[in-house]
Amino acid sequence: MLSPKPELMQPAVHSAADKATAAVTKDDAMERGHPRWLAVVLAIVLPIVVIAVWQFVYDAKVVSPLVIPRPLDVVTALWSGLVDGVWWRHIAATIQATVLAFAVGFLAAIVVGSCFAFSALARETLYPYIIAIQSFPKVAVAPLLVVWLGYGLAPKVAIGGLLAFFPIFTSTLAGLLEVDRDEVDLFKSVRARWYHQLRYLRIPNALSYIFPALNVAAVNALLGVIVGELVGTDAGLGYLISQKSFLGDTAGVFGVLTLLALIGVSMFVLIRLAERATKFSR
């Protein structure tokens, strides 16, 4: 039985070599440093400059207002769309479809990814086809999906789900399979059963692969949903964009695009928060 003898190891512990390497420093970045305030100031100045140039281009009348609207008109369009309440139906439709598409793509990716990870037969048989589908421009099947699944929620969720599937599928597969040889030996040497290896090694490893993929998957889900809405539905921000551009309401289109950017950023932030809350991002 080992007993604590703190004095035993003290000299070894505080060796200079340890201390030097214990802290990770940022000094080894390749570029020269810049003051923190500079980045903050530039980040604030950049949109002001962009909007100023935009306003200038509009005032100079070098392009038609149909191509580039007045910045203030975009704000007005956004404001009236939100306050009059006409847009909320579309915002709700897009968010609902995106969340559903993400959930469907996520679940399918986890299930199929796990099957592939645990069956070499499935892997070897189906992998060429998965690659084929992955390389295929999936948005091209959107019109067909509308024909098959009808006008409404189903085709949007199908395209969004298909696009969300792949990043999560590949990371699930890689995360479950790509464990270190020594790690497997370690688990064998402590007589861990397969379910121990799954619980303590492969699933946490897979999660550390999956979390970074969720952002890409969420953006893909939104992309798929918008494509679905452009092709054929009567609700959603994609539908709104096609309506507005048909009517020549460029300011309205810009307004909707601003909303989409906001939705995209919100998803990014939500996933980041979820990632922070777990420790698997390490």
């Binding site: 060796s15 390497t21 214990a22 030996d185 064998k188 007589r191 550390s208």
Partner: protein, 254 residues
Amino acid sequence: MDRAITISGVDKTYVGRQGQAVPALSGMNLHIGAGEFVSLLGPSGCGKSTLLKIIAGLTRPSAGAIRIGADSVSGPSDFASLVFQKATLLRWRTILDNVLLHADIHGGRNPENIALARSLLDLVGLGAFTNAYPDELSGGMQQRAAIVRALMSRPELLLMDEPFGALDEFTREALNDMVLRLWEEERKTVIFVTHSVAEAVFLSDRIVIMGARPGRIITVMDVDLPRPRPENIRTAPEFYQLVAKVREVMGGTH
């Protein structure tokens, strides 16, 4: 009961890519007494790690057998613990959680094994890092945590596979001192794979010098330095003489 380790007639042959037989170990015979510190020293490809894995029960020999006392090794057991060259700490677990892996797999945590983990981490100087994650620690600190993890199952045999091979000289010497103190304290049997002559001489009772292609034992040398060994024995003339003698024997293995 005598828990000596007997390696008798062990061969290991792998099947190569073209289906040809690749001999990794050939005709290994070795007896290691309980509580002995033995180093396996040799060039890469001499089958040191393979032998260690066979003793650990992770790999089966193609011929021959390993016996611990009277029992034949047929698979991994709590008798032996492994320390790898890489610390192989799970990056999503804190140091304390990593060290408690064995407890999590076998019967769960209890006040007793948590106390043991904390006291061992204190012992190796990681008492302040129990809640740190592996990537926040230096290579030497990670390896100390890996040694604590190996001790948690209370093994009688510690199998160390080039545990300090990736560390710088100073950290390596500090950890050599630590291992030596731990061993003097506990007198566990240690089989230590290394390709550092100085490390082998400093730590061991006996050095098994191995040759490559196929992996085999060239000779076994006794290290007749006094015990307990002070750290400054590294600068003593008899230490240098032993290092020179080992190098001389190894000269013929390359």
